[in-house]
């Protein structure tokens, strides 16, 4: 197991803001120095475009870019050619919805849940409007966990796509991905996993899970912004149409409009990609694998458990996901609007998120459309949790307004 104090030294944001407690890791994560260095090195040492160079630095850039694919593949246990780089998970989910739309017809069903982030609902809603496919929601319990029996019942021959977040973004609930995937496959459905909140927090093995597609954003796993990964089983990538067309993704084309595409994954990466982002992501993968995803997950579980026990002693809060083993603590302070509570914490140098967290239909399950989410990562400490809980205890209407005086 790593030493958290050593780990903290890897993060310039922590050094530059020693008093700030960052519990908004569900929104984005801090970047270790190695990631920043890798990006700087690209710009100071071998800036070039990729896939088209005859000279040394271009070859170096190309190598780093493809090396990144290998790193991501190692992280998620896929083949290198099954890793597509796009701009974020949102782009990946849009690509998948577009690609699968070619296979869908009126009356086909896309099965999902009400815990989903906007990025994994809106692209499917468009298919509903354009193609007349149906969106159905599987029943979930009070922390958003999918009800397996209901899932089995709803998984009939009309269900062509099953999609959900392996860890939900507001409540951090782990879904039984492998079990659900098996049921979906037995019914001939394609499984698409939003791993935005799972990546970098726990080991992920796409081969073992047997999912068809899985995607995530680099910025939520210590990597830079503006780059995301679409994993797909190669035969599915091979038959899928790219959303964007242009340079870098075609093999040849002629004036009569005939276009021959490159093979996957390249056919999905139109235009000059976010090379610095991909190289930074590569460094983030290495960094996380050096720490060990098992270790990271174990550490986060322990910290989450510690926070849970502390929260049990508070009588001024309503917690929506207390018993979850990992992920954020999502709560409200009694009689205090979520944004006011977050404002009090901010005034005390604690960064949390308030609002509906882009999961705008989750309130149908938890009965509130606003909450405060404190999301942890492996560089957070028990001391930070202690201070945080102490401050949460102080929150009431009076203290929340008190920050304005």
């Amino acid at each position: 197991m790593f030493n958290v104090n050593d780990v903290r030294n890897d993060f310039p944001m922590i050094k530059n803001h020693p008093d700030l407690i960052y519990f908004d890791n569900g929104a984005t994560t801090y970047k270790p120095q190695v990631v920043i260095d890798a990006i700087t090195k690209f710009y100071t040492d071998y800036t070039s475009n990729v896939e088209r160079g005859d000279y040394e630095t271009a070859i170096q850039a190309d190598r780093a870019y493809e090396e990144a694919r290998k790193c991501v593949a190692t992280l998620i246990h896929s083949e290198q050619k099954e890793v597509v780089f796009l701009s974020n998970i949102t782009a990946a989910l849009n690509q998948i919805a577009y690609g699968l739309s070619k296979k869908l017809n009126k009356g086909d069903v896309i099965l999902t849940s009400k815990s989903e982030h906007a990025s994994n609902l809106l692209p499917w809603y468009r298919l509903k409007d354009n193609l007349g496919v149906e969106i159905k929601y599987v029943n979930v319990d009070d922390v958003g966990r999918i009800d397996i029996d209901d899932f089995k019942n709803q998984c009939d021959e009309n269900v062509k796509v099953v999609t959900f977040a392996s860890v939900t973004n507001v409540l951090g609930t782990n879904q039984p991905v492998k079990e659900l995937t098996k049921i979906a496959h037995d019914n001939g459905a394609i499984v698409v996993i939003d791993a935005a909140q799972a990546i970098g927090h726990q080991p992920i093995d796409v081969k073992d899970l047997d999912v068809d597609f899985l995607c995530f954003s680099s910025h939520k796993m210590c990597g830079p912004d503006g780059v995301g990964v679409l994993y797909g089983k190669y035969n599915l990538l091979d038959e899928m149409d790219p959303l964007l067309l242009g340079g870098g993704m075609n093999a040849r084309f002629t004036s009569d409009g005939k276009v021959v595409l490159k093979d996957a994954p390249h056919k999905f990466e139109a235009g000059t990609p976010n090379i610095e982002g991909v190289i930074g992501l590569s460094a983030a993968c290495k960094y996380l694998m050096d720490l060990g995803l098992d270790n990271i997950h174990a550490y986060e579980k322990e910290l989450r458990g510690y926070m849970k026990e502390k929260f049990k002693e508070l009588d001024n809060v309503i917690v929506y996901n207390l018993e979850n083993e990992s992920g954020p603590i999502t709560f409200n302070v009694k009689d205090v609007f979520a944004q006011d509570a977050a404002g009090y914490l901010a005034a005390n140098h604690i960064a949390v998120r308030s609002g509906n967290h882009c999961a705008k239909i989750l309130h149908e399950i938890i009965g509130t459309d606003q909450s405060v989410r404190a999301s942890l990562y492996f560089y957070n400490t028990k001391e930070e949790v202690d201070y945080f809980v102490e401050k949460v205890k102080e929150i009431n209407l009076e203290s929340a307004i008190g920050i304005f005086f």
Partner: protein, 151 residues
């Protein structure tokens, strides 16, 4: 502001905000054709309020509001309604202008803002400025609309 005004006391100002949040004034929407109405929903936070006003012959006869909103949004809208009811449009515009100056941390006339000076420090929390102005923006728009009709 008079030296001895109670409004110089931060404790009193805090109580005022709490009071207006817990027991907002003019907090009941009406079904009445004489009222103009504005629905204000913020993209970036939960605040979602509706403000109504009945403006007759250049006088704001009544203001009502309702919705889901944080303390600052609710209390600032409640105080706005107290301040502007029975004022002429011209008076209201002056008050709104002074309020906006205060929120933007410019020099302002504290006397005409009365209780609303409770929000004098909101500028320090940039992300809450929209909360302190959401109801005020609504009434500004309603006034503009009323002027359009009267023209």
């Amino acid at each position: 502001m008079a030296e001895n005004s109670l409004l110089n006391d931060p404790m009193i100002l805090r109580e005022l905000i709490m009071d207006h949040y817990q027991y907002p004034h003019n907090h009941k929407l009406v079904k009445d054709d004489r009222y103009l109405s504005r629905h204000m929903a913020s993209d970036s936070c939960i605040d979602d309020i509706t403000v109504q006003a009945n403006i007759e012959n250049g006088i704001i006869k009544d203001i009502q509001f309702d919705g889901v909103a944080c303390t600052i949004s609710t209390a600032s809208t409640s105080m706005m309604s107290d301040l502007l009811i029975d004022k002429s449009i011209e008076e209201a515009k002056t008050i709104i202008e002074e309020y906006n100056k205060m929120i933007n941390h410019e020099d302002y006339d504290a006397d005409i803002l009365e209780e609303a000076i409770a929000f004098q420090n909101v500028y320090k929390q940039a992300n809450r400025i929209k909360c302190a102005t959401i109801g005020w923006k609504a009434i500004e728009e309603i006034i503009k609309e009323s002027e359009g009709i009267n023209d």
